[in-house]
Every structure is written in C-alpha cells, then in structure tokens.
Symmetry: C2
C-alpha cells in the first residue's frame, strides 16, 4: 500500500531540493481536458535536471509515495490525473525543456521531456529539418508526454508515431536509477529494447527525462486537397489510388464526416469553411513529393482517376498556402468543436483497414437502435484510426445521457474488438481504459505486463492506477 | 541450474508429441557461419504448430532444460548455438513456415516464424507489394530469426529494420503461455510494447512463432549507381546531397572500400566487376521514386552536383536491370569473400553519422600500429552502420594472429564506444558479445534487462548464455 504525500513528507522533500522545486499544485496540474476526473496531489515537483528527478523518485520510493508524471496535461484518458487513493507527488517536467543539441546532418535532435512539441518542431525547422509528429495540441503537449503515450497524429501514415521517431530515451526508473540512452544511432542491437518498453508505458515503468529524436528532410513539394467521397469504402479505394500514384509520398489521409463541419458551424461560426454545404463524407489528402513533380498536378490526377472510378464526386485542390491552412484548420478544430458540444462517449479506435467500413456501418446501426445520437466519426483513415464520438441529439445535454455512456462505450468497443481492432489507437489506456485491457486484452500479454510492472516497480509508486490496476 | 536434455528427457518429450517432432540434431543445427562455436543439443524439436512449441517449452520448463531457438542458422554472433553447459533442446521453427494470410489493400502479411525471408518477400511480390527487409542471406534466414535479432540489411535507411516492419508477434513465453499479438493494425496503444521487447531479445524472453508484417508499395521507378568518392567524409556529403535531391527516396546508400573488390577478385575471379581497377572508396546508391521522375536523370543530377562540389570523381549509372544486379552482386558477395579470406576479428558497429570518418581514421591508424593487417570496411553508410573486419596480411593465415584477436576487437570497440557508437548495430549480442554488454552497457540499462529476464524466465531456460550471462 502506498502512503500519501502528506505535509511532513512534502516538507522533507522540499528541504532536500533547491528552493522552488516543490510547490503546491496549480489547478492545471489537477485537471484534464474532458473534465472527467479531478486530480489529487500533495505537491507538485518541478525538477530542473535529471538528477533532481532521480532525487524525487528515490524519496518517493523510500516513503512509498506515488508519483504522477505530468507533461503538458493534454492526455485524453486521465493518465495525468490520479483522482483517488493516497495523494501522490505530481512530477512535472515543465522546467526541463532544453533542446540539448541538434545535428542536422545526422537528422537527430535531443530534447528534454518538458519541451513542447511545437518547440521541438520549431527547432527542427530552424535547422532545415522536420520533426514529423503533428498533433492539434502541439503548443501545449510535451515531447515527454508524447513519448510516454506513444502519440500519433496526422502524419503517422508516412512517418510513424512517436515510437517510430525516437532513437533513444533517458529515463529515471522506479529505483531512482538513471537509464542513459541518448545515442544518436539508427541501429543499436545491444540487448533488450527498453526504449520501446518505456515509450507508451504512460509513466508506469519509468519517467522519460529526455529523448534522442529522428528528424527528416522536409518534402520540397507539398500540396493538399479535400475530396468528396460517397463513404468510407470509397475513401479507402481513393487512398489505394493515392498510394499507387505516389508510393510513400502520401503524408496524411484524413476522413471527415459532415458532423464535424456541422459542429464547427454550430460552435465556431466564424471559422471559414471550404464547402458552403458540407458533404456527407470528405477526405483531406496531403502529398509531400520530391523535386521535379507538381503536387497540384498529382492531386488533379488523383481526382481524375477517382472520378473515373466513381469514387469522388467533388473536390478542392489548395491553390495557396492559406487555402491549405484552411483545409487543415477545418480538420484540426474538430476536436475542440467536439469538446464544446460535449460527447456522451468518445472512442479512439483502430481497425484493420478493410474492416473500417463494416465497423462504421455496424456501430452506426447499433447506436441508432439505442437512441437518436449524433455521431462524429473522423480521423486518420490511412492508419485505420478513427475517433468515433457519440453525442446527444441537438438541443439535449450530455448529462441527460450519462446513464447510457457505459453501454455506448461497451457497444462500440465490443464491435471493434470483434473485428480485430484496438480500443486505444493513439491515446493510451490511462485510467479511462484499464477495464478495457482486462476485458479485451490477450491474457498472456496482460500477465506478462503485470510481471514486468511488478519487477521494475515492485512498490507500485509510478503512476498508480494507470494502465494496470 | 539447468539440467541436460538427456536420453530419458528426450524419450519422454518425444512420446508427448507427434512422431517425428523430436529428432537427433543434424550438423546444420550445431554449426554457425563463422565456425567459432560447435553447438550442443540433446535433440532438435521440430514443432508444426504454436501449440506444439508451447508443449516443448512447458516440458523444458518443468524439467529445467534449456532451449536454443533455431531459425535459419545464419546468425553471426552465436545466438543459435550453445557450445557449453547442459545439452539443450534445439527448437527449430523450420516446419512452421506458412504464410497465414496476406491483405494487399492493408499492406499486411502474416507469416509463421520458420518462413524464409525470401519466401516472405516473394509472397509480398506476388501480391504487388514489397516486404523491404533485404539481406544477403534471405534464402536461408527465417523471418522469426530476423525478428528475434532485429535484422537490418541494405534498405534500413528508407524502411527501417525488422522491428520497424513488424506490426505484431505471436510468441511462446517461458511459462508456456501463448502471447497472441497478430493484429493487422498500424496503431495499438493498449499497454506495454511486448512486441518490441521480444524483437531483438534473441530468443531469451520468448519464442516468436508468427508475425504480422508491414508491406509497402514498391517504388515504381528505381535506379542504382556506383560513385567513386575520395573517402567516407565525401561519401556522407554525397548522401546529404542525395537526400536533399530526393528526400525519403534514397532506398540504399552503401559504402565499399576497395578491400572488398580486391577480396572478390582473389576469391571469386569469375565475378563480373564494374571497375577494372577498383577505386579506393565507392558508394552504391539506389533510388526509388514516384511515377513521373527518371531515376537515371536524378542520379545524373546527383553525380553532376557531387562532381561540382568535388565529392565524386567517377561513376556508373546502371543502364539496365542486369547492370543494376551486377552492382548489387558486388556488394552482396563481399561477406562471402570475407568468409573465404578469414577475418581475425569482425565488427558490426554503428556510429553517429558525423563520427564515421573520424572512427575510420582513428581505428585504421591504431590497427596499423599493431600490425600489417588488411581492413575491409564496408556497410550501410546511411544508417551509420559499418562492417569493419580485420584480416591477416596477404599470404598469412588468420590462425597466425589468433592471439591478437581479442586485442583488436577491444581496440575497435573502445573507439566506437568513445565516439557514442554501438558495438552491435544489426547482428545482436548472441554469445559473442555478452562481454561487450558488461563493458560498454549503461549499468542501469543492464540491471533493468536482468530484472526483466529474471521476471519473465526465472529458471533461465530460454537460450541460456545468450545476451546476458
């Protein structure tokens, strides 16, 4: 059993560290974007170095006090807030945000965990390189949090998720030891892959303090288009056409149901929308090409081939950077519109590509039988990753349907699982989906996870209640 | 302590499995390509199903008998042969070689561990797709072995190593439980990354029985060239030019020192060589481009820009598939020539790209001070991965220098380590490099590896003596 970070513990901890390191938590340290949990915290620790992180961990280990690692606070599954149990130490990496080095000729950048994703991207840009991880929350989320949750976003199709963009991590383990892994290497087969074990472990196996990141050369020729498709099946066929036209050069391929533009019109009437009357289904496709090719021509080819095959009925090819930005604003503001409307239940699911249309049909029909819900289905089609969120009918409030939230979630996740999918594609398990792991997880896998957690963190001080309960 | 797979154990095991599953080991099960170890084995188990693999593991677990997993036998660090200790069961996956399914529209293929790499590649080709892992030993090595060792090869620069090409694994753990992980998903953030923990663990944490693999669309336009450079520094600058010309489209970038062509002339005089007099340093560059571009034109551009910058003095652009094959034959036959000459010490090292030229200089000078050795330095420059092999002077035999082998290895590895490199880039640790892990490994990392090994395989039955001793 863990002990609370009580007054005595907090006072002792504060004395062992430089002044200002241990403070009272601010509201932002106890909140999360969906307001489903209110966090507890005896204090917040704001270390300025890896050695200070290790000191905090050792003190917590000795006193059996829990630690909740905190990055930018943008996680959607409650991994950053502990709502019950003995008050933990909230360990925020926000003062460790240095870019320790950048090696453009090696395509490598080393950043501390508290650096914001936007700062990492800007540092890469400044060196003529690109860090491809791209999320709507890039101005708030931290690279440490991105790695701890193996964040995804819109460019996974081409460059992979956070895991694929990380060459190595420095981390503090539960015993206070510092794992040094900041090599600037593409290849290193000297033993077990602890980097990937820590990435996606949501702070339950160690605290990532810095990372060696992979940069890429930005594609010299880029372009984007919105294309109107009849449905998800046609969207997938259009994706196959795009990949055949420009193999490896499709940087993003996003699916947008008209509920998204409708919600935007309702909540952000000033946002410029590309279509006066939103079509039922849209895809947003972005290409990144080598020199010597024209993105607009290739997108026209794609449109032409798509129209000929009966897949595409209308479309817009961005004629300027500002039009391209409009297309992306449409896409990137959908999560905020969702938040303003207020979902009854939100789902971040992945399916085998060929199961996507069947899932959308089946889940839509099953939900229609339950009630007059509005469904916003959008996301990273190229990755098989849908954000499938269920809302009350227009005029009703989410609170009126709170009693159905669990049943809706179970219904959606059961269909996903039956079709070989995942109930957490890119958000992680946090505290929201620990029950799903028990329900859907492969028993041998869950048992091995428990064995590893017990071996590396026997007292269970690291992010108690997250991932495994 | 482990027990030997003695006559009684083998007889009992044989009775519990279908006839023909348990046999006497053949010579190939006890050999490895460099003839440094002769393996032990009480028997070889040849299961035909994952359930049979689990039966073998449970029997070995109950009797505390070691298991040496065996793929294609091509490993270069002795991971597949146990030369001392109580005779183990050799568990060969060679009869589990089915391609269980292929989903071209999803770019996914599921194969059993015993499928040869060439068979997996052919199955992908047959579906209009490509499995990009490409090694000289593809006709012999198995996909299970490729994953267990996180194999690399010539296309890592563009498509990553075995780890990056695997979506999920099915494996048998030390307790005989079957981990089911064959999802056809790009994204799955439901807990710890056991897939990557097993990949590269060289059979010491579990036995991979099948894998879900990532396919790609083959680039429609390809081309290759050999270019003569003054040295590794210029080769790196040429790589940067190539990446700027065709970002993300450089499929391979191999460095070849003239020792390679010289050894080929000595050992395989009939092999057609592109240059009558081999240049001191060559690079082999391969591009894979979208439709609408010409590989020959782009390689000419690269040559022109390289010549203008003083990086390239001569070159050949493949004018036909057969000339391209000749270029690759030159590269792919170097390991066999090395084997025929007989190295005193072979090294598979990775360095930060900008440290490569300094390493080659420093190691060359240090070795010259030790003796009149011939050095064959070649490999995957784009990945920072060199195969740096040290040979006796012409006319002398490797046996004459056996006493210096350890000192040579230590010298090379010390320089690599001091420059932030890795002493095993793509071959793994096996039994050859366990001492290097102790010498160069981050102590917290090695301790965490031991903790994980002890937790998942407390009796130590899985590949005893490999990776960790």
């Amino acid at each position: 059993m863990l002990n609370p970070a009580d007054e005595h513990f907090v006072a002792t901890l504060a004395q062992s560290l430089p002044e200002g390191t241990i403070r009272a938590p601010e509201p932002r340290h106890l909140e999360e974007p969906r307001s489903r949990w209110a966090g507890l915290g005896g204090c917040v620790a704001l270390p300025r170095s890896t050695a200070e992180v290790a000191s905090v961990v050792r003190a917590c280990q000795a006193a059996r006090v829990g630690i909740v690692p905190w990055g930018g606070g943008t996680g959607l599954v409650g991994g950053q807030v502990m709502a019950e149990g003995p008050a933990p130490v909230i360990l925020s990496l926000e003062r460790m945000k240095a870019v320790r080095g950048i090696w453009p000729s090696e395509n490598v950048l080393i950043a501390e965990a508290g650096a914001k994703l936007a700062e990492v991207r800007a540092a890469a840009d400044g060196a003529g390189r690109m860090f491809p991880l791209s999320l709507a929350s890039e101005g708030t989320c931290s690279i440490g949090g991105n790695l701890a949750t193996n964040a995804g976003g819109v460019n996974v199709l081409r460059w992979g998720n956070a895991r694929d963009l990380c060459l190595g991590v420095e981390a503090v383990l539960a015993d206070g030891s510092i794992l040094g892994g900041l090599k600037r290497l593409r290849k290193d087969n000297t033993g077990y892959d602890l980097r990937n074990l820590l990435i996606g472990s949501e702070g339950t196996l160690g605290i990532i303090t810095a990372a060696s990141l992979r940069l890429v050369a930005p594609p010299p020729v880029t372009g984007a288009a919105l294309m109107v498709v009849e449905g998800p099946e046609q969207a997938l066929e259009l994706l196959a056409l795009a990949e055949a036209l420009a193999p490896g050069c499709v940087s993003a391929f996003e699916l947008i149901h008209r509920t998204g533009p409708d919600f935007l019109a309702e909540t952000m009437p000033d946002l410029r929308q590309p279509f006066a009357e939103p079509p039922e289904w849209l895809v947003l496709v972005e290409l990144g090409l080598p020199h010597g090719l024209s993105a607009a021509e290739m997108l026209e080819d794609l449109f032409g081939q798509g129209a000929e095959a009966g897949l595409v009925s209308d479309g817009l090819i961005a004629q300027s950077e500002s039009q391209r930005a409009d297309f992306w604003n449409l896409r990137e503001n959908i999560p905020e519109a969702n938040r303003l409307i207020g979902a009854i239940s939100s789902h971040d699911v992945a399916l085998p590509l060929s199961e996507l249309p069947g899932f959308i049909d089946e889940a839509g029909q099953a939900l229609a039988a339950m009630g007059p819900f509005r469904i916003n289905c959008f996301g990273h089609l190229g990755d098989g990753n849908l954000h499938y969120n269920v809302f009350p009918p227009k005029g009703a409030a989410r609170a009126d349907f709170a009693g159905q939230a669990y049943a809706i979630k179970e219904l959606v996740h059961d269909i996903v699982h039956a079709r070989g999918g995942s109930v957490s594609a890119e958000h992680g398990l946090g505290r929201a989906k620990t029950g799903d792991l028990a329900r859907y997880g492969d028993p041998a896998r869950v048992a091995a996870m428990r064995t590893i957690k017990a071996a590396l963190d026997p007292a269970g001080i690291l992010n108690p209640g997250a991932v495994l309960v």
